[in-house]
């Protein structure tokens, strides 16, 4: 059994020391059966899925301007600011100095000494991606209701529906959005699908689709959702996604990509080029559901093969990055250098995306693109292992990978995969390289 010790991030004010007795009754206004009766939260029900991928209209409408702040964004920001002013967060994240590290990619570093508890580290088992839910451990039914912002569901209507005061009904299996009391950035929230069902931290089709919905509804490319599997630095074994606003691109999003394959349902899968963590990028699809299902299939495959991974949902739900990793395993086997360990930076989804929260001033002052790269490279699978994992994934999603994506061009004989039309063939790609642009000085 492989274990590592680390200080878990406190995401709720009710998350106590694991060692202490958790059998406290209530009066805490939690989500347990003790307090649920009479609980009310606003409910945001998003509009029905569009048929075609992004739902953008070709026809110019009078609204084709820089889009105004969307309703969901106002709800998230407004409720978050309310909790912010009520002092529910452990620190003011906007008072934490932050900067873009000079370099090609623009990694973002933040000096945040308050994020990590000053208490003794907990042991985490890192060799099993799938572990059953343990009601005795901290989970999201134990958060105080004041930490919840609203209920969120994928609606059936063609319009957004908002109910300012809806009872929390266990029969409806509500999904909720909660604050993260140790935020990385302003607006850091947790999306907890079907909170009362107590699902363990593992991806399933319905939940990933809900997360995609949220990204699409927020309609802001700077609002991303992230996911950490067990073994990839998830702290709590209760299914949840994280999200926050950072109004600039993540380095991960800037990395060039090389297309590998397009699935039957039109999902384009690429691999990132020249990025410290080897990752896959999923985009397109005949519908959002197709994109979601393909990624879910890939995740289920990784889960069943006990491969830890992180997910970043980006570009308002149009792009999904899948990053398998092995840092925790290396750490448990004593293969990570002490200087990297001393920074206490765990490469979870945000770190891999390029957002590094540093707890020591010297690490912040000395933050450089090489340092960031070196840390993230430790988390990456090796070239060979990544190829093996890709093969597993492609088989799982029903495409046998017939392409040779070597150093050169992608050549795909037409008709090799069941395709409609010529969707797999790309346009002119010089050098098989990615879409890059010429940036002038």
């Amino acid at each position: 059994m492989l274990k590592i010790k680390r200080v878990p991030t406190v995401v709720s004010n009710y998350q106590k020391d694991e060692a202490s007795d958790e059998s406290v009754g209530c009066g805490r206004n939690c989500l347990g059966a003790c307090c649920l009766n009479g609980a009310r939260l606003p409910l945001y029900s998003c509009k029905k899925l569009e048929k075609s991928g992004t739902g953008e209209k070709l026809v110019i409408s009078h609204e084709a301007r820089e889009p105004p702040v969307a309703f969901l964004e106002s709800l998230v920001l407004g409720e978050w600011e309310d909790r912010f002013q009520r002092g529910l967060f452990r620190y003011d994240v906007t008072a934490c100095e932050t900067k873009v590290i000079p370099g090609k990619y623009g990694f973002v570093a933040q000096l945040n000494e308050g994020r990590h508890l000053k208490k003794r580290p907990t042991e985490f088992r890192v060799d099993k991606v799938l572990q059953s839910f343990d009601g005795n451990k901290f989970n999201f039914t134990k958060v105080g209701q004041e930490e919840l912002l609203f209920q969120f569901e994928a609606g059936e209507d063609c319009d957004v529906q908002f109910f300012p005061c809806m009872p929390l009904d266990a029969e409806n299996s509500p999904s909720v959005v909660a604050i993260n009391v140790s935020p990385i950035e302003y607006g850091h929230v947790l999306l907890i699908p079907r909170v009362l069902d107590c699902l363990p931290q593992r991806i399933d089709h319905k939940s990933l689709l809900l997360a995609l919905h949220m990204a699409a509804e927020a309609a802001n490319p700077y609002f991303r959702l992230g996911y950490n599997s067990l073994g990839a630095f998830a702290t709590i074994n209760h299914l949840h996604f994280q999200a926050y606003y950072l109004a600039m691109p993540f380095p991960l999003e800037k990395a060039p990509s090389k297309k590998m394959i397009t699935t039957v349902s039109g999902v384009k899968i690429s691999e990132l080029v020249n990025y410290p963590v080897r990752s896959l990028l999923f985009e397109g699809g005949n519908s959002m559901q197709d994109l979601s299902d393909t990624v879910s299939d890939a995740c289920v495959c990784l889960q069943e093969n006990n491969i830890p991974f992180n997910i970043l949902i980006s570009d308002s739900g149009r792009q999904i990055f899948l990053m398998p990793q092995c840092y925790a395993e290396k750490q448990a086997l004593g293969e990570v250098s002490p200087e990297l360990l001393e920074t206490q930076v765990n490469p979870a989804v945000w770190e891999i995306s390029g957002h590094m929260v540093l707890k020591r001033k010297e690490d912040y002052e000395g933050a450089s693109e090489e340092n960031a790269w070196r840390l993230l490279a430790e988390a990456s699978l090796s070239e060979e292992r990544f190829k093996e994992v890709n093969a597993l994934i492609f088989e799982a999603i029903g495409c046998s990978n017939q392409e040779e994506e070597l150093e050169g061009i992608l050549v795909q004989p037409s008709g090799s995969v069941n395709q409609t039309g010529n969707r797999t063939l790309g346009g002119p790609i010089a050098n098989g390289a990615a879409s890059e642009c010429l940036v002038l000085q």
Binding site: S52, G53, E56, L58, I60, A64, R65, E66, P68, V69, F71, E73, S74, L75, V76, L77, G78, D82, F84, Q85, E97, T98, K99, V100, P102, G106, Q161, F162, P164, Y186, G187, P221, Y222, Y245, L246, A247, M248, P249, E253, K254, S257, E283, R318, G408, I409, G421, N422, R423, L425, G426, G427, P428, I429, A430, A434, S435, C437, L438, V439, L440
Partner: protein, 391 residues
């Protein structure tokens, strides 16, 4: 203008307004001079909410099939579509945010709905006096995607050409681009379409020509613009990217700078101007006390001042005096809060106004208090990120 005007003429007014705002920066006949240029280009104004196009050349209108009225006031995103490469969209968005030039191939759509590839080359235009971005100039050069390299073998042939050859039924290997006869469906499916060297040169030339005209006519008007920032942006001037972000917020609010003498307003939303009846130039640089008057409760003013000194948020109900036609007063449920930037220190105060009569709760809407706080939140995100610009 009365509110009973038809929507068509209201729209024309908006077009004229935007074009007027553009011309005001330059000396007379600027539009005519720009109209004489053969290139396809647009000019946008980041300081108008929505970052709209304020000038479109005849070449642009011809290329896209739109009329002037249909284009002025629109954001450049309007010409993108579902198959437009997301990465290219991001490149452009980031270049705007970082106030730097960019040259990228991108798929756009004409009015007819047909797609076409073009080389999009955009530059910021800076005001010489205050160092801020006045406009963005974007040039569009249609590209045919036949970039063949000298002596390249068959195996290196790029896909689009392959497809085209198959389309046209013959193997062609030449330097000059063929006219695009290909199925439009395929154009949309191309991952990328590299511009040829000559197309890239064309875009550089076009940008240079537009910039020359702007420079010349700004000189005549006494407020020179240029393609490079000549001085650091003055302290009370917000970056264009921050202004674009703030322009997404549709409620009434102002940003004031506590580090400048008398804490002047450095940003006022359109909704604020509508609510108070003032013009932007009357408000910028002034302390907010112009909204107070004879009957404004001085103890409330004192309370606000205390909160500002302590750096704490507060909500007050204050009687304000508008500059609207009727010079009416209104009860303002005002929320103010300090806002920090990336350094972690307070850079601004935000004041969000809510007319007390609007406090009625609409069943399907956010609570007014939530809406008011959402403005604060959106401002916090915008301000925090605006300083983290890569150089």
């Amino acid at each position: 203008m009365s509110i009973t005007q038809s929507s068509a003429s209201l729209f024309t007014t908006a077009t004229e307004e935007k074009e007027g705002a553009f011309s005001a920066r330059y000396s007379l006949w600027i539009k005519e001079a720009l109209d004489e240029l053969p290139h396809s280009f647009t000019i946008t104004d980041p300081f108008i909410s929505g970052h709209p196009i304020v000038f479109a050349s005849p070449g642009f209108l011809k290329m896209t099939g739109y009329s002037r009225e249909e284009v002025i006031g629109r954001n450049g995103r309007a010409f993108q579509g579902p198959k437009t490469n997301r990465r290219s969209i991001m490149e452009i968005r980031e270049a705007i945010r970082e106030e730097r030039p960019v040259q990228v191939s991108i798929l756009n759509y004409r009015k007819s709905g047909s797609p076409f590839w073009m080389l999009f080359h955009m530059i910021p235009v800076f005001g010489n006096d205050d160092g801020r971005v006045i406009h963005f100039v974007a040039v569009q050069v249609p590209i045919s995607g036949r970039k063949m390299r000298n002596g390249s073998g068959c195996s290196e042939m790029v896909f689009g050409s392959c497809r085209r050859e198959v389309c046209l039924g013959s193997y062609v290997h030449q330097e000059r681009a063929l006219p695009v006869e290909c199925d439009e469906q395929e154009l949309e499916n191309w991952e990328h379409c590299e511009a040829s060297e000559s197309e890239k040169l064309k875009s550089v030339e076009a940008v240079g020509n537009v910039l020359s005209v702007l420079t010349r006519y700004s000189e005549f008007a006494g407020r020179l613009v240029c393609g490079k920032r000549s001085c650091l942006r003055v302290a009370d001037c917000l970056s264009s990217s921050l202004v674009i972000s703030l322009g997404r917020i549709k409620q009434s609010f102002v940003l004031t700078n506590p580090c400048l003498p008398d804490m002047p307003v450095v940003y006022a939303s359109d909704a604020f101007l509508t609510l108070t009846g003032y013009k932007r130039h009357e408000v910028l640089g002034q302390n907010c006390r112009f909204l107070s008057g004879v009957d404004t409760d001085s103890s409330v003013l004192y309370e606000m001042k205390e909160c500002i000194l302590k750096g704490k948020p507060c909500t007050v109900q204050i009687l304000n005096y508008s500059n609207r036609k009727d010079k009416s007063t209104f009860w303002n449920l005002l929320h103010i809060s300090p806002v920090r930037n990336a350094s972690g220190k307070t850079a601004y105060f935000v004041g969000v106004q809510m007319e007390a009569s609007c406090k009625d709760i609409e069943s399907k809407e956010l609570r007014p208090e939530t809406r008011q706080l959402s403005v604060v939140g959106a401002v916090r995100v915008a301000v925090r990120s605006s300083f983290m610009v890569t150089c």
